[in-house]
Amino acid sequence: MKPRRVLLALLGTNFLSAMGITIVVPLISNLDHIFSVSSAYGIWIITLFMLSYAMGMALIGRLSDAVGRRPVYIVSMGVFALGLLVSAVAPNFGWVLVGRFLQGLGASGSLPIAQTIAYEHFGRRKGLVMGGISAAFGIGVVAAINLGGGIYQAFDWRAIFYVTFALSLLGWGMSFAIPETLKSKKPLSLDIGGILTFGAAIAAFMMLFRGLSESSFTSAAVWPYAVALAAMVVAFLAFERHSNQPAIELDLFRMPTFVAVIGAAITGGIGMFVFQTFLPSFAQISLGYTVAQASYSINLMAFTMILAAGATGALSDRFGPEKALAFSLAMITLGFLLITTISQPSWAYYLGSAIAGTGLGSLMTPINVIGMREGGLGREGVSSGIVSLSRTLGGIIGPTIAGFVLSQTDFSSLFALDNLVRAYVRIYRFGMWVGVVGFGFSLVLLIRSLRKTEVHA
């Protein structure tokens, strides 16, 4: 198999998978109008994708170890395309969500397996290829917002899914060009109980916040989900403790530094997904942009993000991943702060998003490096998987809470739009405080690494 063709297939499929996450972002401020659903429910178009994405990530690594990279990759891309078609023809919002669930499940196979294939297939150039795959994924996230806004403005919401479906068929075709790189198959051992209870816990969390947007906590439509959430968390921990091949190895959490990495990954994930998901709709509301204009307005953030992503590897090597992580979370926090405090809306928007973009772009590499290092030798894959899963968990928690905040907006007022702007400001303030907590975790890691350096010196 020609390396160039394999590389093209890996880049192309990952670009498309990333598009699946954010292609619907331009719809967010219009979901209640399009589908007549509350904001807290509407945001499931993002969070349900992230849920199946997280569940799939926990499953797919071990599945590909057992049956091979290639078949899992091809099936994943097929499921992704099928999900897009289901959303495109959906008669109602429920079916759009079914499609989104399938898309998330399919997309979960592309990035981790592509990284593994790159590692196993490209020899000395594996680092370059893995970086390229991450970059393709990042560019896909941003390109999708632009494309989604333009398509929605020109056509309608279905067109977004039809166009992405057509592209995904191309990606599916490309996935057949990927070679099998697995040398020896392992026996299939999946932590189904752990994955299902993890998914059920997240689903209960989402239902809890959907209920809270319409009723009080003591309502029968709300508190059972809180009970279910607690029960599923307990069940998940029990499964993981007794599983031979757990999705999350709990003994890693006995190490304070690993806990700090996970804390940084979850808070970073919340910051990343809250900032990116709500930025275009914030531009629509605070700056009066059209859907398409708002989608294009995120390009400054995208530009600084890509620049930072490219520079972080070198910075991390030179100054250490802890300093790079602290820088990243400080920039994310500052971006959130500026977007809510500068009185001139355009300056607040563009300056805040440019600075946050720098932080968001430099988040992933140091977190993964520290996570793999702290997980210990021989467990790099598991540690990296837990870090990715934690970041994805942040991608579910953040938008779910933000959707709840939006659902509290009083639209029956002459100041309805103003109230909406205030809701967005509250969301970005929430992001800022989460960033502060994340920065705290990064400081813990930084202080411990400096102490270690002193001891070695």
Binding site: Q284, L414, R422
Partner: protein, 219 residues
């Protein structure tokens, strides 16, 4: 003859002065505003509203057209982010158009739409011919004052009568144009904190409106 004319002139002057004084003393502003509200057939105004909240203040300007009992049209003119936003109420139908979100919403009034006018306090009571009911439900204090109010839209200086309306924890200070008893400024206080200011910039009462002005667009 000259003597008779002088007496007649003096008598006429006395009648004019007396009648003016009597009207001035007995015309209760509350009665006048109730009568004006009850007889209202149409109201059209340019309005500036300021909302005071914990997080700061926000200001909007809009045109407000109302034909009692249930035709309302509000079109926002400022700030730029809400310019062109429209709220229409026609009988039991409610429609809103938000250009910045490319959003149109059609609802029945009983589904919760169309209550936005209530935020204008006594001005909304006035245009809906409910001034008498609103005054009856409040403790009302009529202030003696020589204050004037400038209509920002026309820079016309008006003599005003001030009504203080108190009900539960809400208090409204209402300035009525002394000439026609139409509300021109309302300040709404909640728990003694200023919550909302409504300033009429220009207005017209009992004009003509085409029914099409309030027509809800087709879906």
């Amino acid at each position: 003859m000259r003597h008779i004319i002088r007496r007649l002139l003096a008598l006429a002057l006395l009648v004019v002065i007396t009648s003016t004084t009597v009207v001035g003393q007995t015309s209760d502003p509350m009665d006048s505003v109730c009568a004006m509200s009850q007889d209202l057939t149409a109201y059209s105004a340019m309005i500036r509203m300021v909302q005071h909240q914990k997080g700061g203040t926000s200001e909007i300007k809009f045109t407000f057209d109302f034909v009692p009992p249930d035709r309302m049209r509000i079109v926002y003119t400022a700030p730029a982010t809400v310019e062109g936003q429209m709220i229409l109420v026609n009988a039991d139908k409610f429609y809103t158009h938000i250009p910045s979100l490319n959003r149109n919403v059609w609802q029945d009034v009983d589904e919760g739409g169309g209550n936005q006018g209530e935020e204008m306090g006594f001005l909304y009571d006035f245009v809906t011919r409910a001034a008498a009911a609103a005054l009856a439900q409040s403790v009302v204090d009529v202030e003696d004052s020589n204050e004037t109010f400038v209509l920002e839209g026309t820079e016309e200086i008006l003599d005003v009568v001030i009504l203080n309306l108190s009900k539960d924890e809400e208090r409204q200070v209402v300035l009525l144009n002394a000439l026609d008893s139409v509300p021109v400024a309302i300040s709404i206080y909640s728990f003694d904190s200023l919550a909302m200011e409504i300033r009429v910039l220009d207005y017209q009462v009992n004009g003509d409106f085409d029914e099409a002005w309030f027509a809800i667009p087709e879906r």
